[in-house]
């Protein structure tokens, strides 16, 4: 069984709730993926990162990849793939550059720099956004041909992502297309391409909604998914 989560955004209590929920499960967690947005613009992110780096007895060791917030802090420190924090400013305003800068300490920054971009395991690819861009937000309403393209780029049948923060299974059940190519010297016969089923899974968000953490379980043996929601904090008992 794999546990796949994303979007903790520095919310330590939410992370603890997910880890506690996993402990209650009778099944061993073979892989525990955290698909980016571990940090957020809060100093609690530093404590969260330390917590992630030091799993307790019986807890699975997280496999962590970079997400959007991680990319933003790298850009601010001129360590990112683009030069300017344009997207950060567009979404949250210029003040956010200072908030994020002040929140994340150098130890956390160094940790962020060491993170993978994504993971490939079996026929799955796990990443925060997509292989094209960490900002790529795949949602239940994304065009099917776009979804298919994201899968094709990684030659994967399944893509697990977290950018949208939503929990969903987007299954391309079947597809077909006919292609014909004419060159200077040849004209091919029309050739059909038939698609086998494949899917994109939004794994939810652990820390985005206060009091309610969502994550995903995947069973490689049966190829089944399970979307999990854990309530935590003072409002827990009120559902």
């Amino acid at each position: 069984m794999w546990a796949i989560a994303s979007g903790i955004e520095g919310n330590l209590a939410a992370y603890e709730a997910v880890v506690a929920d996993l402990k209650k499960s009778r099944q061993e967690v073979e892989n525990f993926y955290l698909l980016g947005d571990i940090i957020g613009p809060t100093a609690e992110s530093n404590r969260l990162v330390k917590r992630i780096q030091q799993p307790r007895n019986g807890e699975p060791i997280p496999l962590v990849c970079q997400g959007w917030w991680e990319e933003q802090i790298l850009i601010l420190h001129t360590l990112g793939r683009t030069g300017e924090p344009t997207e950060l400013i567009d979404r949250y305003g210029i003040d956010m550059t200072k908030t994020l800068w002040d929140a994340i300490d150098s130890t956390t920054l160094k940790w962020v720099q060491s993170l993978e971009f994504g993971f490939a395991e079996l026929d799955c690819f796990l990443i925060h956004g997509s292989s094209v861009d960490v900002s790529d937000e795949l949602t239940p309403t994304t065009d099917p041909i776009q979804m298919l393209d994201k899968l094709s780029r990684m030659e994967a049948n399944q893509l697990f992502c977290g950018r949208s923060g939503l929990a969903f299974e987007y299954k391309i059940e079947s597809g077909s297309l006919t292609s014909q190519v004419q060159t200077l010297d040849t004209l091919s016969a029309p050739t059909p391409t038939v698609l086998s089923p494949r899917r994109i899974v939004g794994v939810g968000s652990v820390g985005r909604i206060e009091g309610k953490a969502s994550y995903t379980l995947y069973y490689p043996g049966s190829n089944k998914l399970e979307f999990k929601t854990v309530r935590y904090g003072a409002k827990k008992g009120f559902g």
Partner: protein
């Protein structure tokens, strides 16, 4: 209406002249150019001046971008050290030759052009460096056309002309969320990718220039191959101090320096 689309002239003035004469004979109504006006060939300024003087709508190619930005193309585009060295030598020579107004012209070229249901790019809609080879996955090809919103996508960059017709596309999708399930059927109308080949640096095994003519009325495409006196270009390559191997390779119908084989390579610069 007949439109002529050409690409990848690469400073080969002799080839360009021959193509323009052929376009005249074919009585095309409009001409479009998909970039890479300069790079490797011996007459970059003359080529640009010709395109400008005829007011041919042109998109910026990867070589044009490199000359403007002062970059040396992405290293991962070259599959060998030898090709990379030859590419760099060509870049340095071209950079040295380009006149200021030519550089300014290349800098203001758009990345894409749109004309009704036709879209014009150099490499792909996503990137000037992406090769849309005729054998890429059909759904990937479909995505590239659909990303433009057009029915026909004209591209260059690969230097081998082709027409790819994508038809009867359909996808069945089921979306499950905690709040419910929905299904949808997606169908795509007929789409085409038309690659204009290369005027000045062929890769199809013959030294002739290639371009395409598209008829917007009957939606038919003609792939044109035009002979020209390539020995004049070969001689100019040598006279102007470009690597002599370029002259030999042009005469064989080979590209000056090999390119990456990865069809959907996207530069990470």
């Amino acid at each position: 209406m007949k439109i002529a689309v050409m690409s990848c002239i690469h400073g080969n003035y002799e080839a360009l002249n021959a193509v323009l004469s052929d376009i005249d004979r074919q009585k095309a109504d409009r001409i479009f150019c998909l970039g890479d006006l300069v790079g490797y060939g011996p007459h970059p300024n003359a080529v640009v001046e010709m395109i400008r003087s005829m007011d041919i709508p042109t998109v910026q190619g990867c070589w044009d971008e490199d000359i403007v930005e002062g970059l040396n193309a992405c290293e991962c585009s070259y599959p060998s050290i030898l090709a990379e060295k030859r590419g760099k030598a060509a870049h340095e020579w071209t950079n040295d030759q380009i006149q200021p107004e030519v550089r300014e012209y290349l800098a203001q070229l758009p990345l894409s052009l749109r004309e009704e249901n036709l879209c014009f790019v150099h490499g792909s809609p996503h990137n000037q460096h992406e090769y849309l080879m005729p054998e890429i996955n059909a759904f990937t090809a479909l995505e590239r056309v659909m990303a433009t919103g057009a029915d026909v996508l004209f591209c260059g960059h690969t230097h081998i002309p082709y027409v790819r017709t994508l038809d009867a596309g359909q996808l069945a999708v089921k979306v499950q969320q905690p709040e419910g399930t929905s299904t949808k059927q997606f169908t795509a109308p007929l789409k085409q990718i038309i690659n204009a080949g290369s005027v000045g640096e062929p890769r199809h095994g013959r030294p002739n220039a290639t371009y395409v003519i598209y008829d917007t009325d009957d939606k038919l495409t003609t792939l044109r191959e035009v002979e020209y006196d390539y020995q004049l270009t070969c001689q100019a390559i040598i006279d102007k101090g470009l690597p002599a191997i370029f002259a030999w390779r042009l005469a064989q119908g080979l590209e000056y320096a090999e390119r990456a084989e990865d069809p959907t390579h996207v530069c990470e610069r």
